[in-house]
């Protein structure tokens, strides 16, 4: 299948998952064709079995109140505007809005298994169907990047190569609460 000629790919991924008995909350993420940043080894970020990570692929995950109460709870997370040009962030926002409105409602899905594993939807701009990735099957961002490459690499001329800064790909996520875009690289894998 020929690669889609586009300078910008939005890799959106949405997941809804019921963890324990907590309330639902979602974040959305998008993968865009910009600089890539991969985090260093995991920081001392608090590891909670009840919290789910957001991988920046239009990912909507339920997380506890420690996530979405206020900025202070998001330790170490940087605003994308502070790292990249305002034009980039603005472009991402506008592009995302045109494609991802359906993912911002934050509504819970229908009947869900309470013990279901964390499988996340992945949507790529230009591809009419999405895929699913098991978040907890990966140990770090690198293994995630490899799977994304296997799934979507054929649609991107030079490959996704999320771990290659030269590829120009950026993994970001959008909080469904505030609608802010954040770099996945700032968030520890846990």
């Amino acid at each position: 299948m020929e690669a889609i000629p586009s300078s910008i790919f939005t890799l959106t991924k949405a997941v809804s998952m019921h963890v324990g008995g907590g309330s639902w909350s979602y974040m959305s993420t998008a993968l865009m064709a910009y600089n890539i940043r991969i985090p260093d080894t995991a920081s001392s970020y608090q590891d909670s079995r009840d919290a789910c990570i957001d991988l920046g692929l239009s990912l909507r995950t339920p997380f506890l109140s420690m996530y979405h109460d206020n900025q202070s709870s998001k330790v170490g997370w940087l605003q994308p505007e502070s790292q990249y040009g305002a034009s980039n962030a603005g472009h991402l926002m506008s592009h995302k809005k045109s494609k991802g409105e359906e993912e911002d409602d934050g509504d819970s899905e229908g009947a869900q298994s309470k013990d279901r594993c964390c499988y996340v939807k992945v949507n790529m701009d230009g591809v009419p169907y999405g895929r699913k990735i098991g978040v907890f099957e990966h140990t770090d961002y690198w293994s995630l990047a490899l799977q994304l490459q296997a799934m979507f690499g054929k649609y991107f001329g030079s490959g996704i190569r999320l771990f290659d800064e030269a590829s120009g790909l950026l993994l970001i996520y959008q909080s469904n609460e505030g609608g802010e875009w954040r770099s996945v690289g700032d968030c520890p894998w846990e």
């Binding site: 299948m1 009947a111 279901r116 939807k121």
Partner: protein, 126 residues
């Protein structure tokens, strides 16, 4: 395989407040080019392989949904209205999240990628 259409696709279950809740037990399956869809009870199946076998029989496309002769691919729509490839989820999870299954030809999907859209299968309402 003893999997058949069911006329009654809903069963009543008791909710936590002893209210009668109706839960759909069958999943609609639509196929590109077919005006009439089918309904399948996924709880009677144990794997994606069984699902493919049943659907290949029903729609008379044996051997065309996998392997070298694959001409058809399956996607499903979840309750968020999003379209996802069938097979990525663990089988048990899939049965929970699937709202509707659609069988599309690979050529159809390829054309849709160029147009950036995926119209409804067979023109049937979602």
């Amino acid at each position: 395989m003893a999997v058949a259409d069911v006329e009654d696709c809903e069963s009543s279950i008791e909710g936590p407040d002893k209210q009668q809740l109706f839960r759909r037990t069958c999943t609609k399956v639509l196929m590109e080019g077919k005006a009439v869809g089918r309904a399948i009870d996924l709880s009677l199946l144990d794997s994606y392989d069984e699902l493919i076998t049943v659907l290949e029989n029903w729609f008379e496309i044996k051997g065309e949904m996998r392997g070298a002769n694959k001409n058809w691919m399956m996607i499903y729509r979840d309750y968020d209205g999003e379209i996802i490839v069938v097979g990525d989820d663990p089988w048990a999870d899939f049965r929970e999240v699937v709202k509707q299954i659609e069988i599309l030809s690979c050529n159809h999907v390829r054309r849709m990628m160029l147009s950036g859209a995926l119209p409804m299968v067979s023109g049937l309402p979602q």
